[in-house]
Amino acid sequence: MKAIAYLNQFFGQVGGEDQADYEPTLHEGTLGASGLLNSLMPHVEVTHTVVCGDNFAASHTEEAIKRILGFLEDKEFDLFFAGPAFMAGRYGNACGAIGKAVKERFGVPVISSMNEENPGVEMYKQALYIFPGGRKATFMKKDLEVMAAFGEKLATGQPLQCASEEGYYVRGIRHEVFLEEPVMAADRAVAMMLKKLKGEPFVSELPIPKMDKVTPAPAIPDLSNMTIALVTSGGIVPSDNPDRIQSASATKWGKYDISELEVFPVPDYKTIHAGYDPEAADTVPDRVVPLDAMRAYEKEGRFKKLYDYYYVTVGTGTTQGEAARMGREIAEDLKKAGVDAVILTAT
């Protein structure tokens, strides 16, 4: 396998802090720390090394990413290494930002190492494999060995174990596994209960992740000039469901013309949402998407215009990730159309 490594000005042998504004460059083969990395991996060849000054990466991040992605555009590589960055904050963030961009653009695994106190860990652990590393450069060999071992594992196609066994910081990516030692859920529950009752330490199998709370936008004082759109996760679609939106665990959204409609005609529209009793919604779809009420308010002049399309998906069982993606796509479309506000209905 082929790999490309990213280093800062110091470990790429350009110079110290006085060279921190060094602009990104691409070098054939290895350089400084990437030479040691290369020597640790019999099945991986480090073909190129990217070097960039920490200041340049921190203050011109977009530009640094753009140039580096440009360097890599015509290169063949299967892995990308960044760092190790120890406790160096700017270097950690640079490894993270550039590594994430490389992963998204080229779809290759990105391997890094940072000390747990490096702010780059919190920011980028979801995007890359970041291994816990030492506080300073005296740990260079040790940290590189960890990165190299994982690179070898990927290169030789060995099956990957869970994050805690491989050793990288957890990424918030959860999959099911069959337990190596088969212990029934009920037995695990009783064992956990006995520990909890005694005040002994126990490990929950589902650590509560950080909340991703969206603060509702402030109220709009004057609606008279506003174009408002209707968006719903309630599954009201034209009855033939032209975009085949799924009834549960949806990954698709639809956008349908209502410019000629005063209310949703029945049975031309119905719900395909499998998470609630459809009877009331199929009888009067407007109770899920309040088209009738919006037309009435529109005539009264409460707001300028109801946008000509409404947007729909299905909320039941739909993952947070898919919901966020669809939300972003719908929001972009609405913004392009000059819509000022949205009424979002759920069920």
Binding site: R174, A189, M192, L206, R244, S249
Partner: protein
């Protein structure tokens, strides 16, 4: 309350001249059994099969599973208020065929809550029914009103499974069991001081009851769980058929009637009773749709647990997604009144594994046993024999399938969501979720 369950281990299942059990061999008179199935005129076509662990057979769309049993003393029917007159459950003697189940499969039509079982191959281990000897009823009905509906009550087929379980189980009536399990849990005030010194625990159950229309939800003594408030029950009542599974929950999260009859968590807490814990009983709650309903049930569960003197509560939800709100709410309310909780639930992290595992989360939910991932992506090779209609997985809105998921060669891709009762939220799961 004292319940004795006499066990008869099935080593071989076969069709024969007489429905009888002898020396580990269960013989079934197919014609008689089919007559029992056809007692319901809505069943228009029916066939029986026997499948064993390791058989290269795929069952789909599977609707329900029931253990074959016979009430010998203290009642007449397996499911009071459902297959027979209302009567108390939980006392007396049952005889049960172990290592075996009745499974009912739709001949043509699948529904949202139906699933798949592989009896052999790499996915045999994904459902506990892959390890059982199963009497499989494949049947069709004249319930045309719901034939093309995604949500089906599946009434005729589910009731046929229960009748079959009673019919076959009745051959045990006069036999002497190979072993007897005793579930004896006296009233709270009649327990010895040693037992009363142990930390008291309750088991809070949230069966699937979210359909406002009747006929789809879990039944408690024949009563639709949507129309009830949390109530106190003796664990024996559940082991003895007081609860019958519904026909709504996406199937990996479902608790089939077989799993209610054999509740692994109840058995485990019972085994700990008097040793490490004092099992106070079951709080049978429910799952709701409206926020105030969720809140009301959660408060009542917490109040009941607290007033029973519970130090701890096990909480299991038969569902994912919207029901996570009820689940978390109950954990929060219990912890608020000082009852320490352990939750048992599956997760839904998306195909990439990156989504929030439960729809609702709260820091109070700090002890959870994870039973699996609803959205785990599975690629199943073709199976030489399919009982039922595999295309249902793609066509009829089964929760783990989608249009085009079944290939022409009989292989398919699906989410674990459609694996029959695969996550064992009743306590019967050998899976967990991990960070990758």
């Amino acid at each position: 309350m004292r319940l004795e369950i006499g066990n008869f281990h099935v080593k071989e299942m076969t069709f024969g001249a007489k429905t009888a059990f002898s020396k580990g061999v269960l013989s079934i008179n197919k014609e008689e059994a089919l007559q029992v199935v056809r007692e319901d005129e809505h069943i228009i076509s029916a066939e029986l099969h026997i499948v064993n662990p390791g058989d290269m057979v795929r069952l789909c769309p599977v609707k329900e599973a029931v253990e074959m049993r016979c009430k010998v003393k203290g009642g007449t029917h397996l499911f009071p208020g459902v297959t027979g007159e209302l009567a108390p459950a939980g006392e007396g003697t049952l005889h049960a065929l172990k290592g075996a189940s009745v499974i009912v499969v739709g001949e043509h039509w699948g529904s949202f809550q139906d699933g798949l079982i592989d009896m052999g191959g790499p996915f045999q281990r994904n459902t506990l029914f892959g390890a059982l000897r199963n009497l499989v009823l494949v049947a069709d009905t004249d319930e045309v009103f719901e034939q093309r509906e995604q949500q089906k009550k599946n009434r005729a087929l589910r009731w046929a499974a229960m009748r079959l379980a009673e019919y076959v189980g009745s051959c045990l009536k006069d036999l002497t069991p190979e072993e007897t399990e005793v579930f004896d849990l006296p009233p709270l005030n009649e327990r010895s001081p040693e037992v009363q010194k142990l930390p008291g625990v309750v088991y809070v159950l949230q069966p699937q009851t979210q359909m406002e229309a009747l006929g789809y939800n879990t039944l408690i003594y024949g009563w639709d769980g949507n129309r009830m408030l949390p109530t106190f029950m003796h664990p024996n009542e559940i082991l003895d058929g007081a609860v019958v599974s519904g026909s709504f929950m996406p199937v990996s999260s479902k608790i089939s009637t077989y799993q209610w009859q054999n509740s692994v968590t109840i058995r485990k807490i019972m085994a700990e009773h008097g040793k490490t814990l004092n099992f106070l009983g079951i709080i049978m709650s429910n799952l709701n749709v409206a926020m105030d309903q969720k809140q009301r049930s959660a408060q009542m569960v917490a109040s009941m647990a607290s007033n029973l003197g519970a130090a701890g509560a096990f909480v299991a939800e038969e569902g994912y997604g919207n029901p996570d709100v009820d689940f978390i709410q109950v954990l929060v309310e219990l912890e608020k009144v000082g009852v320490k909780t352990v939750g048992i639930a599956n997760e839904c992290t998306g195909r990439d594994g990156a989504s929030q595992p439960l729809v609702a989360i709260d820091e109070a939910a700090n002890a959870i046993v994870s039973c699996g991932n609803v959205s785990q992506y599975l690629e199943l090779p073709p199976m030489p024999v399919v009982l039922g209609e595999l295309e249902a997985m793609a066509r009829d809105g089964l929760s783990g399938g989608w249009e085009g998921c079944v290939k022409e060669d009989g292989s398919l891709v699906m989410e674990n969501n459609g694996m029959f009762c695969a996550d064992g939220v009743c306590g019967a799961s050998l899976k967990t979720c991990r960070e990758f």
